[in-house]
Amino acid sequence: MALLTCNKATMSYDGRVVLKDLSFKVNAGNYLCIVGENGSGKSTLMKGILGLLPPAGGSFDFSDGLQQKEIGYLPQQSAIQRDFPASVWEVVMSGVLNKKGFGGFYNRADREKAVSNMEKLNITKLKKRCYGELSGGQQQRVLLARALCATGKLILLDEPVAGLDPIATNDMYEIINDLNRKEGITVIMVSHDIVSAVDHADHILHLSSSGEVFFGSTSDYTHSDLGSRFLFHNCSCNVCRMKEHNHHIYAQNHREGEV
């Protein structure tokens, strides 16, 4: 069953239409990566999904008992948070506020939820540390724990590995994989890292500034026109070479099949 249905959504930003009649579906348990070059409307789409920017046309529909405000959102790290005096505990706890009324006092169940999510992400011993003094990778884990406090179903990650070192990047991808496979949490990730996106996600939504759109499974994507153009970019790393190789074989088989 579709958790999120994007129904012919049109989004405009600063009076300019960025996305036109976009449709796609995210089922429970999916791992969707949204890729595309700068200015292709990735962030605008994300704002639409989160309800921060209303669509100019069409709609974002949620079902399966999911409300829009129950999306666990991991924002891109902004400079404003870097020197913020807040303990890890305070940050993680603030994730439960979406289930609260006007004021928002925390109760025992909320605290237990925060504790278990911190254990899941292996940041329990950072509980009393100051958020601003943590490394980039640790900060991302803290924000992810906060996102998990806000949701049990769907997390939306905005460039979760931007600015992380290679080790922290791998850790992050592994954590996201675990959340998706073991916890059954649906993942939507906006990423620039197209090679990793293809490696981890099971669905790809590719937006481009020309208006071309691909939405489908990852294997279909790697063999699509848009996908191959983006994946094979004169890079000679092993991953890209392997993909290029596979792509050729696939294309060859396809041609032979047609004949």
Binding site: L50, G51, L52, K69, E70, I71, Y73, P75, I80, Q81, F84, P85, A86, S87, E90, V91, M93, S94, G95, L97, N98, K100, F102, G103, G104, F105, Y106, C130, G132, E133, R146, A150
Partner: protein, 272 residues
């Protein structure tokens, strides 16, 4: 010590403390949020607008608060809009509004009664300027601010720490921003009579910045700022009474001392 107790025998001193302590407390609480959201300049802008409003009130013989409160509240919403709107450079916009309000205020005040001591007391504050109605308003304001911070503490943290996340998870961030801007405007109008329009913004900015040298959690920063602000205010007022120095300036000077002390403590703490 005798001088310290003697000070309480003057009714204007008592009134100044009754108005000033709640204002110092409110300014510190609101200041933490404003400073962390990079809105410190709004406080400065509002106080200059307040100066213009006071000048108009004096020129037309109107009650100062009746003119200043609505004008500064409107200015607060306007400045908030400017700061939120990324298309306009918020900093420059605030600077322009500040200096315009100051210029217009000075012209009106001079045309009305010549350049006299009145302007000096607007700019740098006067301990004699507070009235009984100021005291009542000040107590009501501080009650509202304290209730807001107790009941909505977690929301205020969420909105201050990460507004986008707060909004995405269903918090009405615009309402919170507007309430904070409104309360800041009222705090400034009340405080600027004692502190002066040029110095009132220090009451908002200093306690938060000072606490942040040492405190590393939001709760500690809030509590520390509130206490620090009240202590600095009382010490500053007492010092100004005993040393016969200008009140607003003495309070700022006390804040400077506190900042330096906390900064040193923070450095020592970090190096250990």
């Amino acid at each position: 010590m005798e001088g310290f107790f003697e000070m309480f025998s003057y009714s204007f001193m008592i009134r100044a403390l009754v108005v000033g302590i709640p204002v110092a407390l409110c300014a510190a609480l609101l200041g933490v949020s404003l400073v962390l959201k990079r809105y410190s300049m709004i406080g400065d802008g509002l106080s200059h607008v307040g100066f213009g409003a006071l000048a108009i009130a004096a020129a037309f013989n109107l009650a100062p608060l009746h003119v200043a409160v609505p004008i500064v509240v409107i200015a607060a919403f306007l400045l908030l809009r400017l700061s939120e709107n990324s298309k306009i450079n918020g900093d420059s916009a605030i600077a322009i509004i500040s200096s315009s309000a100051l210029a217009i205020g000075v012209i009106i005040a001079t045309m009305a009664n010549g350049m006299n001591t009145d302007i000096n007391s607007y700019l740098f504050g006067s301990i004699l300027a507070t009235s009984d109605s100021d005291a009542v308003l000040s107590l009501i304001l501080s009650a509202v601010v304290i209730v807001l911070f107790i009941f909505c503490y977690n929301r205020i943290f969420a909105v201050t720490f990460d507004e986008t996340f707060a909004r995405a998870t269903g918090t009405k961030t615009n309402v919170y921003n507007m309430v904070i801007a409104l309360l800041t405007a009222l705090t400034i109008v009340l405080g600027m009579r004692i502190m002066g329009t040029l110095l009132i913004s220090s009451l908002i900015i200093f306690p938060a910045l000072t606490s942040m040298r040492v405190c590393k959690t939001f709760k500690k920063v809030i509590v520390c700022s509130a206490i620090l602000s009240v202590v600095c205010f009382v010490v500053g007022v007492s010092a100004s009474y005993m040393l016969e120095t200008p009140t607003g300036a003495s309070i700022v000077a006390t804040n400077i001392v506190a900042f330096v002390l906390f900064w040193i403590v923070g450095k020592v703490k970090n190096s250990n």
